[in-house]
């Protein structure tokens, strides 16, 4: 096992940049910690942590030198890999009425494939990317742009040392320590007082090994007990996470609870604002919008994020099929925790807790699931 100094991490970022990768990492912006372009370790959120609970997120100062001393922010890597708004095609029509037959010409858009390096991907977020891979890149008709961008994507994960009160990744088997799917995984060892942190590195791919191997000599600072210290970081994090979901039989529980009164009880609180679906790193639903220009002879199709909380989402003939808030919350939760298993062979939830934090009224899916379980028992 290798340990990087802070300078070593900086050299890794510079090396990625030098290889042509667009480097993204966590930054403080707009009052949150969120993925953004980074140029060096100076862009990382030194001196900040996040405080989260149902309907509550605040940045709080911290006095140590940690660069990854927070849980997760509202925005995830899905914004980059599965953008909120993407052009699909442009269609042009020969103007009707001049006697010649009407013709349509279709031009598919191929959004650029960009090689990106993500630094600071949390284990839960890595699991979320893997779930979106399965939906968007490994289904019967893959999204070609998504797949190409992922193939070009380098991931430097950072294990979790400071989980939030809303986290429940151990229940979902996704954290606080990464399983796989990374090129390099770091564990931040925060030193006492003004000491800069060091980063214990695990190599997850050939590409990761090459990146590490190309770093200059002085970047590596091994200490005999680093591996144990790194393990202790994620063990402490795991111990600090108390929120749980009982995963056993959860799909059947939800299917058996489709007509429970509990959905109406949630609907009394749910604003159907769709915040949970926007913040969720696995929610993938999109809408197709056709926009015509003023001549009326050109139409552009856009793919935009959609949410099962919107009425139009379930439009069927003249009316929405899921007219009630209860049916829309049920769709979201049953899909996320239940029917995702039937559709994609796994749970749709990674336990990051964003939907709890970013729900304006603090609806907590772990509480709702526990209530359904209690009702069923």
């Amino acid at each position: 096992m290798t340990t990087l100094t802070l300078e070593g991490l900086d050299a890794l970022i510079a090396a990625l940049d030098g290889l042509g990768y667009e480097v993204h990492g966590p930054r403080v912006s707009g009052g949150v910690i969120a993925p953004d372009r980074i140029a060096s370790v100076d862009d990382l959120p030194l001196g900040w942590t996040d405080e989260q609970r149902g309907g509550h997120y605040r940045l709080r100062p911290r006095t140590d030198r940690a660069r990854f001393g927070y849980a997760v922010g509202p925005r995830s890597w899905k914004e980059i890999l599965h953008p909120a708004r993407t052009p699909v095609w442009t269609m042009e029509r020969t103007p009707p009425g001049d006697g010649t037959p009407v013709e349509l010409r279709v031009r598919m858009h191929e959004p650029p494939v960009v090689a990106r390096a993500f630094v600071g991907v949390r284990p839960c977020e890595l699991a979320a990317i893997a779930k979106q891979d399965r939906v968007l890149a490994r289904g019967p008709h893959p999204d070609p742009t998504y797949g190409a961008n992922r193939a070009a994507n380098v991931i430097v994960a950072v294990n979790c040392g400071d989980p939030a009160a809303t986290c429940f990744c151990p229940s979902q088997g996704t954290g606080p320590r990464t399983g796989d799917g990374y090129d390099l995984a770091l564990t931040e060892l925060v030193g006492p007082a003004d000491d800069e942190p060091r980063y214990v590195v695990e190599v997850g791919s050939q590409r990761g090994a090459e990146l590490l191997g190309a770093l200059p000599e002085g970047c590596l600072a091994e200490a005999p007990d680093d591996e144990a210290s790194a393990r202790a970081v994620t063990e402490r994090a795991a111990a600090a996470i108390t929120r749980t979901v009982e995963a056993e039989g959860i799909k059947e529980l939800l299917y058996e609870s489709l007509e429970s009164d509990r959905w109406e009880a949630v609907a009394q609180r749910c604003l159907t604002c769709a915040n949970c679906t926007l913040a969720c790193p696995t929610c993938f639903c999109t809408d197709l919008e056709d926009v015509t220009d003023l001549t009326g002879d050109r139409a552009d199709r856009w793919r935009v994020w959609d949410s099962c909380f919107s009425l139009a989402f379930s439009q069927l003939g003249p009316a929405p099929h899921r007219a009630s808030a209860a049916s829309r919350y049920r769709q979201w939760l049953v899909h996320k925790m239940g029917s995702w298993h039937d559709q994609f062979g796994e749970s749709g939830c990674v336990g990051c807790g964003r939907c709890i934090t970013w729900c304006p009224v603090g609806i907590d899916l772990t509480e709702e699931l526990a209530a359904l379980r209690q009702e069923a028992s």
Binding site: M108, T292, S327
Partner: protein, 284 residues
């Protein structure tokens, strides 16, 4: 740099020319079949019940099943009820005009797997459209069946579609039973919902030897399936169609979920055995 793989053909809208339009109802509804052919290239093959996303330029797309016979290599027929802006723009496309098609795709009626000697085909309203191709196919393979029974219910005699086909099928050995919700002068058939005919005017050896293909509004399919179960037909031998807001047709957009099913990927045809527990749940 990595090169993006080719787009799935289902993502690309293909221009089709409207070569004919047929008004299908007798004035009780607003149902038109568009006969279409690709502007370039050949008609793709399809299986009965498969759907396509039909696009009206600048308006949007709607999922419509192919309703012509599978061996019709001259055109594909799509039978469309005017219901909103998209279906309105589609049926208003003039002969010679162009629409776009993505498809056909989806699960077909499992006619090849039917092992029973009696085939029951039940359509409600425009639900007869996704059944027309399988009826034609069953007639072509009628040596496999002792009986082919078509039960079709419409709101009124005028709302019935495919009148010529119904008469022709009856002449080709198919037992055709019709019912309407509300009669009008000249109607001498039964009045009532489709399930009421089953086990009454339409009697079959339910227990051992019927496979049923059912398509219509959800409530009609629900009560039809329940009636068939009461009569002793096994849930695994009842097949019906699913419908949700279908958009991408590629299992990517999430809109057409129905419980465990992604309709564009797992449907439209599913067995009642698979869907029974979800079918009765309102707003799922």
């Amino acid at each position: 740099m990595t090169v993006p793989p080719a787009f799935s053909p289902l993502l690309i809208p293909v221009p089709y020319r409207v070569v004919d339009k047929v008004r299908e109802d007798g004035g009780g509804d607003d149902v038109t079949s568009l006969h279409v052919v690709p502007v370039e290239g050949d008609l793709p093959p399809f299986l009965p019940a498969q759907v396509s996303m039909l696009g009206a330029f600048g308006v949007g797309e709607a999922a419509i099943s192919v309703s012509s016979a599978v061996d019709n290599r001259r055109f594909h027929a799509y039978t469309i009820r005017r219901a909103g802006p998209i279906t309105g723009a589609l049926v208003d496309t003039p002969i010679g005009g162009v629409i776009t098609v993505r498809g056909p795709f989806g699960t077909p009626w499992p006619l090849d797997e039917v092992a029973t000697s009696q085939l029951l085909i039940v359509g409600g309203g425009l639900g007869i459209a996704p059944l027309r191709a399988v009826i034609e196919q069953a007639i072509a393979e009628s040596h496999r069946f002792d009986r082919i029974v078509v039960v079709y219910g419409a709101r009124s005699p005028e709302a019935m579609v495919y009148r010529d086909d119904l008469a022709r099928w009856a002449g080709q050995g198919v037992e055709v039973a019709l019912t309407v919700d509300a009669a009008s002068p000249g109607w001498d058939g039964p009045v009532g919902v489709v399930p009421a005919l089953l086990g009454g005017p339409v009697t079959m050896g339910w227990h051992e030897d019927v496979t049923a293909f059912v398509c219509g509004p959800d409530v009609m399919m629900h009560f039809t399936a329940q009636r068939l179960r009461e009569l002793g037909t096994g849930a695994a031998r009842i097949w019906l169609t699913t419908e949700r807001n279908m958009q991408c047709g590629n299992a990517l957009c999430g809109h057409c979920q129905l419980g465990p099913f992604i309709v564009c990927r797992d449907g439209p045809v599913v067995s009642y055995e698979q869907i029974e527990r979800f079918h009765r749940v309102k707003g799922l």
